[in-house]
């Protein structure tokens, strides 16, 4: 079995609101292996966002242990944490969070700033990544001139810019129309297959979740259920519906015509 990228042990996060304590996460145990494509599902208030914040080192757990790419990050101070965020985590937001006054390339270059890469190296890599997400020729466009789906592609390119150990996506399809939604899911799936990128998606869209290889159901800050998704079959280039042979680039299964 391949190595573990992310592992939590009895992870808890408690918010204090006045005198009331809210246990957003309680003794959560989670393990994500390298190259996995995982979905975390759950109803509102189940602790999805809190979990993602903690996993992405945006927030610190109240207690418990969290190992990210062999580093115990739960106790790291802020002046170390930003390096983890920069080098080991790629974030994809529901609302894309691109900087409006920077064009696509500049947005993708952003995480590479303050790294050892030279200006030209950064630019070159940003262009390559935009090509990878299917935005060749739109590099100079500002976010407002891109569609929602395109903006999310730019955001995904930005997320993988520093070759992170894991990509954390928070409702990546929440603000997208159906067509764009499929495109983004397929893009993440292809990244996972082609580049071996580890992806964790938080969503309450069951369709999106079903296209991952493992679905975790979160409730009251705990994982209560685990299910296999369709992605596993796709990894073997099999249609998850009819078992026919498919290519990663196929939008629909060539034999049963079902949308992949």
């Amino acid at each position: 079995m391949s190595e573990t990228v992310l592992k939590t042990e009895n992870l808890s996060k408690t918010y204090t609101m006045g005198k009331r304590e809210i246990h957003a996460l309680s003794d959560l145990n989670l393990q994500v292996k390298k190259g996995e494509f995982v979905a975390i599902m759950g109803p509102s208030g189940s602790g999805k966002t809190t979990l993602l914040n903690v996993l992405g080192c945006l927030d610190k757990p109240t207690s418990g242990k969290m190992i990210l790419d062999q580093v115990d990050v739960a106790k790291l101070p802020e002046k170390e944490l930003f390096k983890i965020r920069r080098n080991k985590v790629g974030f994809v937001f529901q609302t894309f969070n691109l900087l409006p006054y920077l064009n696509a390339v500049e947005n993708v270059e952003l995480p590479m700033e303050n790294t050892k890469k030279s200006k030209s190296e950064r630019k070159e890599r940003a262009r390559k990544l935009l090509e990878l997400v299917g935005l060749a020729g739109r590099e100079e466009h500002r976010p407002q001139r891109l569609s929602a789906g395109e903006q999310q592609r730019v955001a995904i390119a930005r997320a993988v810019a520093n070759d992170p150990a894991i990509i954390l996506a928070d409702e990546p399809t929440g603000n997208l129309d159906t067509d764009s939604k499929y495109e983004i899911v397929r893009l993440l799936a292809n990244l996972n297959i082609d580049q071996g990128t580890t992806v964790v998606v938080v969503t309450h869209d069951s369709h999106v979740a079903s296209h991952t290889e493992r679905m975790l159901l979160l409730k009251d800050g705990r994982i209560i259920k685990e299910k296999q998704g369709l992605h596993l079959a796709k990894k073997k280039l099999m249609c998850p519906y009819c078992g026919g042979r498919i290519q990663p680039s196929d939008e629909r299964c060539p034999s049963c015509r079902k949308r992949l």
Binding site: L58, D59, R85, N87, F93, L99, D170
Partner: protein, 440 residues
């Protein structure tokens, strides 16, 4: 908006020191001008210890050598004395010579606009020129300074001259003639034989035509009249006695002696000293006000930057959260916002310098009291409400910021930008990266 507001602050910052410099220059010029005038007068007076000046009209006794006339207020009804007085006074014991002179104003008058600082100006009306008839006796010309000496063209008047005149250089412009040209005065034609340089400036500028006294009498319809008698005593010790006798015999004459003139100049000097003191106290007051204003502007500018940047940071919480989420350190974020604040101030500084260079005189005029050389009790106060350095021949002082000051202001702008952004930038750097998830 913000840039313009800041720009104005910066403009004020560069205008105020410029205004101070202008005021200083103005005060300096004032002092120099006073000193020169008084020195010249004293030198002139010292040459004439035996001279008793007798004049028919009042108010002109202050000046001896240059005889500036046509000052505002000097246009009152002219009074003349019959020529017979000359012989009578000559017969007084101890009198050596009596030089009769006829001094009258031309019929033509002229309006002059004199500019004061701050764009204020006022108009005075005075006779176009003064006609001075001199008794052209060669012993008088040789012994007494009755004619101007600084001839720039042609020759001076001499005994026996008739139908000719000597005029001050500034009149060539009015008459449009040079040496050898003809000038008409009351339908009589005179040839210009010489031109002399007159040195007064502003109000002290004089325009005079010198001619034989008999010519002057004919030209001005004053046959047999004189307006001034320069009485010379044989000895300095006789001066007071002679002056008393003349005063008693001719009550219409205003008699001044060496002592009177000296004390008159001394009075003047006292007044001038007061004036300079006034100017200096205004100057120090100005500097105090300027310092206060600069402090206010500095504080205001920093506050503007502070609030603008705070607002910006608040508005962009999500963006800052995103930057932190994708791996920007606190320092990266802080320096970014510091840079932004400084850049904003730099642009504002440039705008401010643009406004300041154009509006410096106006702004400093608005913000600083201008120098009033005559104080509140000065003798000229009533006559010239707008009395200012310009009137005394010192060019109107204008506040022009110099390039060094501009550079300094630009530096100050950037510094204030940095100062004002310090707290907002720190706030930005403390933004929790999880904020990237919130707000929409």
């Amino acid at each position: 908006m913000v840039i313009v507001a800041l720009g104005f602050s910066m403009a004020i910052m560069i205008s105020i020191p410029a205004g101070i410099v202008a005021n200083q220059l103005s005060a300096q010029g004032l002092a120099e001008n006073f000193n020169n005038t008084i020195t010249n007068m004293q030198a002139e007076i010292n040459k004439t210890s035996t001279l008793i000046e007798c004049r028919t009209s009042s108010g002109r006794g202050m000046f001896s050598g240059g005889r500036p006339t046509g000052m505002p207020g000097g246009s009152e009804q002219e009074v003349f004395l019959n020529e017979t007085a000359v012989d009578e006074i000559r017969s007084i014991d101890g009198v050596k010579d009596v030089v009769p002179l006829l001094e009258t104003s031309s019929n033509e008058t002229t309006s002059e606009t004199i500019n004061g600082p701050g764009g204020r100006s006022f108009t005075i009306s005075r006779p176009l020129y003064t006609i001075t008839g001199v008794c052209l006796n060669s012993s008088f010309i040789d012994n007494y300074s009755i004619l101007p000496t600084n001839i720039t063209a042609g020759r001076n008047l001499r005994e026996g001259d008739s139908g000719v005149l000597l005029m001050s250089s500034n009149l060539t412009y009015y008459f449009a003639v040079g040496v050898g040209g003809k000038v008409e005065i009351n339908d009589e034609s005179y040839t210009v034989v010489g031109i002399y340089e007159q040195a007064g400036q502003g109000l002290f500028e004089t325009r005079t035509v010198y001619m034989n006294i008999s010519d002057a009498q004919t030209a001005t319809g004053n046959t047999g009249n004189v307006s001034m008698l320069d009485v010379y005593a044989k000895d300095t010790s006789d001066v007071d006695g002679i002056a008393e006798v003349i005063q008693v015999a001719y009550s219409e004459l205003q008699v001044t002696t060496y002592k009177d003139r000296l004390s008159s100049v001394q009075n003047m000097q006292t007044t001038y000293n007061e004036t300079i003191t006034n100017a200096q106290s205004t100057l120090s007051q100005t500097q105090t006000i300027a310092t206060q204003e600069i402090v206010i502007v500095v504080v205001a500018t920093s506050l503007i930057v502070l609030f603008v940047m705070l607002y910006t940071v608040r508005e962009r919480t999500k963006e800052i959260g995103t930057l932190k989420a994708i791996g920007f350190s606190n320092w990266n974020v802080m320096s970014q916002f510091m840079l932004e604040g400084m850049l904003m101030s730099l642009v504002a500084g440039v705008v401010g310098i643009a406004i300041g260079s154009v509006g410096a005189p106006l702004l400093s005029g608005l913000l600083l009291p201008s120098i009033n050389p005559f104080g509140s009790s000065g003798r000229f106060q009533g006559t010239f409400p707008a009395a200012n350095s310009g009137i005394l021949g010192v060019g109107a002082a204008t506040a022009v910021p110099d390039p060094q000051l501009m550079l300094l202001a630009l530096g100050a702008a950037v510094l204030l930008g940095a100062l004002g952004s310090l707290y907002p930038a720190w706030r930005a750097s403390r933004t929790r990266p999880a904020e990237a998830m919130r707000y929409e």
